[in-house]
Amino acid sequence: MKIVKIKEDNCIFCHLCEVACVVEHSQSKDIIKAFKREERPIARCTVEFNYPISLSVMCRHCDDAPCIEACQNGSMHRDERGYVVVNEETCVGCWMCIMACPYGVIKRDTRREVWGLSTKCDACPERDIPACVDACPNEALIYEEL
């Protein structure tokens, strides 16, 4: 299975992976609309910075994913491609997956009326190469077999 590999030596802290992620998960997939018109999705990757270190971190799609194990109603599951994804329809935002995730890469989306929503990398199901990898100007994220 291919995952997004993190080459931190090449990360230039430009945040374009986050931008690309937001656009990819937006309704229109249009950068201006995604940021200015629509409700902006939360970026699934996070760029961390601690001079001179910078790196983008996102879900590692573990084999025996603790987040799936911790999910209280099966919302966190493995899809046909083998990636760990959230069923947005059923997620109740109990943050048990966050409690379990050994990489700390699940984010909280608290904008829904009743239920929270765990937000995480879904390896861009509609694309051949995840948006963040495509957007990275310095090959700090590469999509390849483990």
Partner: protein, 504 residues
Amino acid sequence: MKWMKNLKTYVPPSFVVERDDYRCIRCKACVEQCSFDATFYDEDEDRVWNWDANCVGCDRCAAICPTEAITVRRADPTYRYNHNWNGHIDSIKKRAIFGGTPVVSMGNDRPYPIYWDHMLLNASQVTNPSIDPLREPMELKTFLGRKPDSLDISDDALKTKLAPQLELEIPIMFAAMSYGALSYNVIEALGRAAKEMGTYYNSGEGGLNKDHYKFKGNIIVQVASGRFGVHKDYLDVGSAIEIKIGQGAKPGIGGHLPGEKVSETISETRMMPQGSDALSPAPHHDVYSIEDLRQLIYALKEATEYKKPVAVKIACVHNVAAISSGIARAGADIIVLDGFKGGTGASPQVIRDNIGLPLEVSLAVVDERLRQEGIRQYVSIVASGGIRNSMDVVKAIALGADAVYIGTAALIAIGCTMCQQCHTGKCAWGISTQDPHLSKRVNPDISSKRLINLLEVWALEIKETMGAMGINSIESLRGNRLNLRGVGLNEKELEILGILPAGE
């Protein structure tokens, strides 16, 4: 907006950053990328601001902006137009305000004549056939080093003992740019590209990081007046040794690497204390004559058991032909001529902009002088300083060069936009910086690939032009000034360049 204006040190901005606020999505990529403090994000206003006075026009922000919201423009002069004083007003102000002579980098940017653009190449038509380089073999292989007066071939074997030679697959090498001036990753990229393309990169005067010893076989090591990082292993790693007497961008003065750039690894490589300024003296203090130079050349040859060619690099100055003759006679195997448009990591502006000779002219006179004296075969000539494209290479070789060095062109290939801020150490493209965060911006994988692409394309272009001229080996182009014609040059210039005017 951050209050930054200080009238005591105010000089009008050279650039204006225009931002299409509708397109700006506040991703702050530009804010993080600007290493010159010219871009800010104001959280309360939710706006990205620019402080134009700090902008150096490197275009990094515009390049990274995902919505292309940014355009960096040259600022229109705000003063009343004055042909005589234009450009000098700010220059005087800077000296008056800061009390120091401005330091600049890259090559001479003044509008001096560019002789390359006044020379045209020939092509074969009817009376002699042109060659298709995609069908016919085309030789770019070049050997640099002393050639014998004659060859003794008997019993089907070469009996003459040849002097050590540098073997180049293409007659283009990467010029001396030190680790210190450039970041680690750039050196890595240059090394990889040189190895892949069968050519050489020059370590510059700053020594060689141990990590880069792996490029042995594709390195020319430099010995300059500061003698930084020169030791046995260093000399051994080089395929050739280059004594740097002068540099085109700053003839007659030494080098200066500011202490801030002397990081832990740099200090180790240069064998000097961390944080102290690296000062290369103006002259070699043991070279005051051609005889002294001969001693240094032979000291280096002795140290490397006469296995490596020794090059001497000089800046092109008024007596370049006579000096070259002396260098050839002093025992050098290669002479590197660095024209006044050559680049630098830091040089006083007055020196860079006013001293030296054009490379084209120097090449022509040196080649001519050595031929007249019958010693042309003793040295190879490498042309350096302002080679911008493959046709400059072809013209240089036709004027008498054996090979060329490219420096600025190589840096442009890996991102440089020639903003001339190398001396600040804040290069936003990660090239001329020792900031570990900024230098990550050069990914050696991508950059070495681009360098390889550049050399491959240039090589192809050179072959195409040679083919057009009906020449199938770069050897046949060398010094072949009949293939050059001058346009828009006066008689004296044509005479010095040794070429005919167009039409003759």
